[in-house]
């Protein structure tokens, strides 16, 4: 076990109400999340000396982190924007740990918010993905189509079906229905999934995540400082990243992703493996992402995901509950930061609705996935 494992902890989480927030702005959602997080942690903004964020997709800044810090009353000695798409929230926690270990900060806020369900009253300039010049002239747009390429390949190589992907959407919806702060509250059947319209075949509407307004924040500090704070500290046990290609055009394969090596690194640092995990919060921009991640994180062999996900195995009460908050598919799409806050809350043991609490959870694994299936970050969290 690496000596950094377990030395730092998440001591506060804040989650705004998600869904449609027409009154809010991108800025106000970020600040609301920070305020809720600091209230939860019992730490004053004046004590916070680090802030990490993600550049808002619709409002790129030279340094959003510095702007945000000063809007929230924080005077940072460490601040930056990270840019790994949906892997960013986990990368923020990892960078917070590294900054504190390096002596650059003591309390680091990690925050992300999105304003995608309702128009932002003050839109800025959008960030480009980087591949559009080589996609759009052929009518190729959007993340759903790149993930549909992966789904076509997975179906070709392993016989996975659209109904198999539907099972992931159905199980995730069940969890959303147990979460008061989830956008989707109506149960889904495989039939509902199959009847939902095709967006980019083979993916249906119910294979796709939501467009959401909302935000979340986490506070990271040392275990030493955490002992003086009110919340049960949730320790960072393992961290990993891998970014094996930069677009679908240079991807050696679309059925094994950065998730394989990234998770191996995180398990190695934690000295734990998939069998030790009590839950998994897996980035689910599309159902196929969850399926590939379950395989790459070692819960079953490559190509076996379609059978593994059946019979409630990935639901609360099953072998490895996945996305106990309802995920990007049915709770809200905030680039995965609520996968991290959900992991922390599950490990606190008393912070979620009792029906979706994983009983006796001691360790869990969280994934973040970004870009055209090219960025990946992993986090193993645990409690003593």
């Amino acid at each position: 076990m690496s000596n950094i494992s377990g030395k730092y902890a998440v001591v506060g989480v804040g989650e705004t109400q998600v869904g449609k927030r027409p009154e809010a702005t991108t800025n106000s959602l970020h600040i609301e999340a920070i305020r809720l997080c600091l209230e939860d942690a019992g730490v004053d903004a004046s004590e916070v000396d680090g802030l990490l964020t993600n550049q808002p997709l619709t409002d790129a800044h030279r340094s959003y982190a510095v702007r945000l810090a000063h809007m929230a009353g924080i005077d940072p000695s460490y601040a930056t924007d990270l840019a790994l798409g949906g892997a960013t929230p986990i990368a923020m926690i990892q960078n917070a740990v590294m900054a504190i270990e390096a002596g650059m900060a003591n309390y680091v806020v990690c925050v992300h918010a999105r304003k995608r369900a309702t128009p932002d009253p003050t839109p800025g300039y959008p960030i480009r993905s980087g591949d559009e010049h080589w996609e759009q002239p052929w009518g190729h747009f959007s993340a759903v189509a790149n993930h549909a390429f992966a789904a076509t390949r997975h179906m070709h190589e392993f016989g996975t079906t659209s109904e198999d992907l539907g099972q992931i959407a159905v199980s995730t919806r069940k969890h959303a229905c147990m979460n008061k702060n989830a956008t989707m509250q109506k149960p889904m059947s495989i039939e509902d999934h199959q009847n939902s319209r095709l967006i980019v075949e083979p993916l249906h509407l119910f294979d796709c995540s939501l467009e959401s307004d909302g935000g979340a924040a986490l506070l990271v500090t040392s275990m030493e400082r955490a002992r003086d704070l009110p919340r049960k500290p949730v320790q960072v046990l393992g961290m990993g990243q891998h970014h094996p290609h930069s677009s679908v055009m240079d991807a050696p394969t679309l059925t094994t992703l950065g998730s394989r090596k990234s998770s191996e690194a995180a398990y190695h640092m934690a000295g734990l493996g998939p069998k030790d995990m009590d839950f998994a919060q897996f980035y689910d921009c599309f159902t196929i992402t969850t399926l590939i991640t379950i395989e790459d994180y070692g819960f079953c062999g490559k190509g076996e995901g379609k059978d593994f996900i059946k019979d409630g195995r990935i639901e609360v009460g099953g072998d490895i509950p996945v996305n106990t908050h309802g995920g990007l598919l049915s709770q809200a799409h905030l680039e995965g930061i609520m996968h991290v806050t959900e992991g922390v809350k599950q490990l606190r043991g008393n912070a979620v609705e009792p029906e979706r609490q994983v009983q006796g959870a001691k360790a869990g694994v969280i994934s973040g996935h970004g870009g055209s299936l090219c960025m990946h970050a992993s986090l193993v969290l645990g409690v003593q």
């Binding site: 932002d120 002239p137 052929w138 390429f149 967006i199 075949e201 240079d250």
Partner: protein, 147 residues
């Protein structure tokens, strides 16, 4: 060529349907296509073919000595999808349409369209060959089943 809008009503980058002909490193690609030649970048030092998008230096040896060389135009479908929704009005009356990842025999992969057959007949591993689709001011490489 129409000027792209900065963003749509939810702040996302607005899509467009024409090539970005001003991309400096890609200019030989578009110029050669006008003459119905499909070319890719190859390193003059280590002989590696470059992946798309075009770039100034070889990713294998970092040499900046490279040239655009003709390829056979033959390739294989690595994966494909069928669009049932148009992200740009220009595609509204084309749905459902195919978009494929085509692995050229020489190695580089292109995003393109397999045409001349219904989208449901496109298969992974299908052998395809290039066809040139002329537009006003530019030519797009597309693919049809070989033979």
């Amino acid at each position: 060529m129409s000027k792209p809008e900065a963003h749509d009503k939810r702040g996302r980058a607005a899509p467009r349907n024409e090539p970005f002909l001003a991309e400096v490193e890609a200019q030989p690609f578009w110029d050669n296509l006008k003459e119905h030649k499909l070319t890719v970048q190859r390193c003059n030092v280590c002989g590696s073919y470059f992946n798309f998008p075009p770039q100034a230096m070889c990713a294998k040896c970092l040499s900046s000595d490279n040239e655009w060389v003709p390829v056979s135009g033959k390739g294989t479908v690595y994966s494909f999808v069928t669009y049932h929704r148009a992200w740009h009005p220009a595609y509204q009356d084309q749905i459902p349409y195919n978009v494929s990842l085509v692995d050229l025999d020489e190695g580089p992969r292109l995003v393109s369209n397999v045409i001349d057959i219904p989208p449901e007949d496109v298969k992974v591993g299908m052998a395809v060959e290039v066809v040139f689709e002329d537009h006003e001011g530019y030519t797009l490489p597309k693919f049809k089943p070989s033979g």
